[in-house]
Assembly symmetry: C2
């Protein structure tokens, strides 16, 4: 199966290494890589993990026309206000009958219903396992393993930066020191206030709700209150009473539609949502037939995000 990548940073490289490592069992080949910074590389026989980039393709359509992949892996950074340009890249692939996998939550947070419908009309697959929980099976779990189940809501501790910052504060450090720690771990968004204000969590809530609950909402429609007002003193007081603060993304199906909320919640210290620290994440689904169940990943890194892309690729190959 021939794969092309748009974006080739750390996740792209980790994905390329994984494809190379698993080639004997899974015959995937990266035939093109397009980046804004380094240019474009093609090889119908398969690119090495560190390709020699040549001049940049003039646009995405020209890149796809030249690379001729069966699957596009979209890895551009999130634009958290619009989901672009990833959405345009995905549409360009659909129009050429190319399956798409993305690690970018923007497209599913801003335009899932439309993109899913366009994929269906084009007869291609659209997958996004790595977009929300670093490769933990959540979309594929519901799709593959929970047939007939209706998701009525969820609660997730999904933002790493807020966990790192609150962890730092509970050791007496300041918000700014917490931000520095998140930066050193490489988990903070370019602007850490996207994490602190709950915007990243709102994007994840919209992404999950759009796919799992057909919510048709955008991140702007998420009621949102971040951790910006938490101080080390307030947190110490809360923790002295056996509780703690967690930035939680919640969804609930109501007669008026799906309601989404992101909030710095005060939870029991041993609440399941409070039991994951650092980059770990955890999601509880509320369902009709399976009650409350969920998934988590402990301290995932780039390799897990890359694996999420890989698992989507295998799933597409199996479905053909």
């Amino acid at each position: 199966m021939k794969v092309a990548l748009i974006g080739y940073g750390n996740v792209g490289r980790a994905f390329a290494r994984l494809v190379e490592k698993k080639r004997a069992a899974f015959p995937f080949r990266i035939v093109g890589a397009h980046t804004a910074r380094h240019g474009t590389a093609y090889d119908p026989q398969g690119l090495p993990v560190e390709p020699a980039f040549g001049p940049a393709a003039p646009d995405i359509d020209a890149f796809l026309a030249h690379a001729r992949p069966e699957v596009l892996v979209e890895l551009t950074p999130l634009n958290p206000e619009s989901g672009q340009p990833a959405i345009a890249h995905i549409r360009a692939a659909f129009q050429r009958g190319i399956h798409v996998i993305t690690a970018n939550k923007g497209p599913i947070a801003f335009a899932y219903a439309a993109l899913a419908e366009e994929a269906r009309r084009s007869g291609v697959e659209f997958r996004h396992e790595a977009a929300t929980m670093d490769g933990t099976p959540v979309y594929n779990m519901v799709r593959n393993n929970l047939p007939g189940v209706i998701v009525n809501g969820f609660a997730g501790a999904l933002n790493s930066t807020s966990k790192v910052i609150l962890g730092a504060m509970s050791r007496g450090l300041t918000l700014e020191q917490g931000i520095d720690e998140a930066r050193r771990l490489g988990v903070a968004e370019a602007d850490p206030w996207f994490d602190i204000d709950g915007w990243d969590s709102a994007c994840k809530a919209a992404a999950l709700a759009n796919v799992l609950m057909d919510a048709r909402l955008t991140p702007q429609q998420v009621e949102r209150r971040g951790i910006g007002k938490v101080t080390p003193d307030k947190l110490a007081e809360i923790e002295a009473s056996g509780k703690t603060v967690v930035l939680v993304s919640r969804a609930k199906r109501t007669p008026g539609g799906v309601k989404l909320r992101v909030r710095a919640e005060v939870l029991d210290r041993h609440d399941l949502l409070a039991s994951v620290r650092g980059t770990s994440n955890l999601l509880i689904l509320e369902t009709d037939l399976m009650g409350q169940l969920g998934v988590f990943t402990l301290e995932p890194g780039l390799e897990q995000t890359a694996y999420g892309l890989f698992s989507d690729l295998v799933d597409i190959a199996r479905s053909l």
Copy 2:
């Protein structure tokens, strides 16, 4: 798809209700039910949820010959020392080219490798999602969503009775009062010492390790130390220091093979394994490509076990 059941207690009835409820979307039909106590019922057009049982079929082969199902759902109670008679029932189905789904952990704890090989040779599916975690996708998660991943170990809080008893003790009650509480909740094995001594956890550890790690072990080979020596006083002392006791099933791949251990472990009160209470269960998998990830279910009941059977049935139907 025509389904026959061996065993028709609470789980069987919950499964029959679910099949009936979902008939429009999933055209499954229960054509036979065989029980030791009530006799046998057949209807090629589909039995009602409360069938009129007639005389018992003389043996399982005669039952299968008459009912002519495509899938057998095996629901006899666990014999925790041998896995029988479920193993014999499953083999009888395989020999007739019938797929098998079981909610009984005995067969996979005692004979998984042999049964999987026999299913393969007979060209049928053998599924067991409901056998270990009340329907939570674990076997199907690894099978469907984690292609190419090697499971190198696991840690699970999988036994409900021990959680209920330890919960009772931490409120100052005795072991005996805790057993009564577990009985009232309907979670204790007929002999609660199967739970307290860690035998149920050992069966679950062997089942998981056999399927997910090709361990080829039996529950007898699990190093085992239950919660029988925990007293309310000891537990109070442990909890005063911010810790608690959890009966944990662990597996580890070693150069000498897979090692399995069940032990009442002293864990931090806010350890992930300590954060599930009552009938809730949680499993952490250690993997090569996805690091540590896991699944949990909060307070599952019979309906969730029934759904585990149903999800296996859908998966078999999809794979044909």
